[in-house]
């Protein structure tokens, strides 16, 4: 029989290849929202985690995952939502960050979040300010994805989607989008 190991590898490959419709240069694996793939016989369960509560791309990605697996002959495909631990831009892979930069989008800065979530019993330290008010605190600079200059400024804190802001580089004068840290 075709082993379950081979079927699992195939299911993983197919699920991981689904692009994000709003950031089409990234797959859901690059983005870090593909949490798990499991195979039992001809049944596949894929777990995805939402990025933002209202992100309309998630429904599209769920359908795309199901369609690709069904087309490849998996008879019974379930796509589950996993809410916890929440997704963070820290989960975007190194490859994903490179692809963002190549597409002219500044990748998110690291938030230093443990991708596995906080160890049990550890107190939270960020209750008051998950992202501080930028009026009073600014993070490290966001480098221009075109010329690399760190001399950039925010021109709009929400861009075409909630996950990006719009910036301008003062060195090369070009506008660019930046994936916001969450």
């Amino acid at each position: 029989m075709v082993t379950e190991t081979a079927a699992l590898a195939e299911a993983r490959r197919l699920a991981a290849s689904v692009p994000d419709p709003e950031l089409p240069m990234l797959t859901i694996a690059d983005l870090g929202i593909l949490r798990d793939v499991s195979v039992s016989g001809r049944r596949v369960v894929v777990s995805l985690t939402p990025t933002y509560s209202g992100c309309p791309a998630l429904a599209e990605m769920r359908r795309d995952v199901a369609a690709r697996l069904t087309a490849a002959g998996f008879a019974d495909v379930e796509v589950r939502t996993v809410l916890s631990p929440p997704w963070s831009t820290d989960l975007i892979s190194a490859d994903g960050r490179r692809k963002l930069a190549e597409a002219g989008l500044a990748p998110p800065r690291s938030r230093g979040i443990n991708p596995g979530g906080r160890p049990p019993g550890t107190p939270r330290t960020t209750t008051a300010d998950p992202v501080p008010l930028t009026l009073f605190a600014t993070g490290p600079p966001v480098a221009c994805p075109r010329c690399g200059s760190a001399d950039t400024l925010v021109t709009a804190s929400f861009s075409g989607t909630a996950c990006k802001d719009l910036r301008r580089c003062r060195a090369c004068s070009e506008p660019f989008e930046h994936v916001k840290e969450v």
Partner: protein, 305 residues
Amino acid sequence: MGFDTAYEAMSEEADAGHRWAFGTGFTDPLAGVDTSLPAGIDGGDLAAYCLMLGDDALVFSHRLQQWLARAPELEEETALANIALDLLGQARLLLTRAGAADGSGRTEDDYAFCRAEREFRNVRLTEITDDDFAGLIARLFVLSTWRLALLARLRESADPVLAAVAAIGVRELAYHRDYAAQWVVRLGDGTDYSRARMAAGLETVAPLVAELFEPTAVERRLAAAGVGVDPAQLRPEFDAVLARVLAEATVDMPDVPALRGLPGGSSSQAGAVGQAGRDGVHTEAMGYLLAELQSVARALPGATW
């Protein structure tokens, strides 16, 4: 699979069984999530609480959506649309959680489109109309500061679904609050005219602030059980954030009496406000809002096309 056009994605073949009247391709936002009730949590109370927080998000999201094509600049329009979308997402998760928690199996659509005004549990500040952009900014600043403080604490809820929904929402609200705070400062510490508009916006908002911190009986019980948060506990953080930002904006929150609802009596709200949004007692604006929000679902129940 990917679609060649938006129309193809909306077609019934591509999306059998979904009702476009309520949005295309919406699936249960908690699909595959374990929504069983943890031991010791009262399902009725949890559902009531999720409706309060879900209705806040749904109703304010609708008001924000009404700003589309009315915002002063394209950048503000996209910001308001994105904030509205975040809140709508939070509402969908919370309303779906409510239907699972009380065992009724009601869906997000049942709650959003098939309830009457008195059954909505949002605080009244979410439902009022805005006189101008500064008025909206005052409301967004107050509501996002309050909701961020609330959801930050809810991340420790004994209900794992509520805790997870809060953990996602907190990051969104941090950006909403930041956006609003920057505009409060820009308008308040701006020209004489923008400053006057910002002050007027705060004056409109101020009488509805006390209500945000008055706990209902449900909130008291759930706070004691480690499931919910007593909103009275949010006041110090709220006041501290407002003080920092308003000082920068060189404007003050007016000290005005709270807008009272109906007399307390048997109400769960025995404080200065009486029965208000959390009891289903709303302002005149709410009926108009629901008439629009529910118009398609009321005119064409279960419609598909």
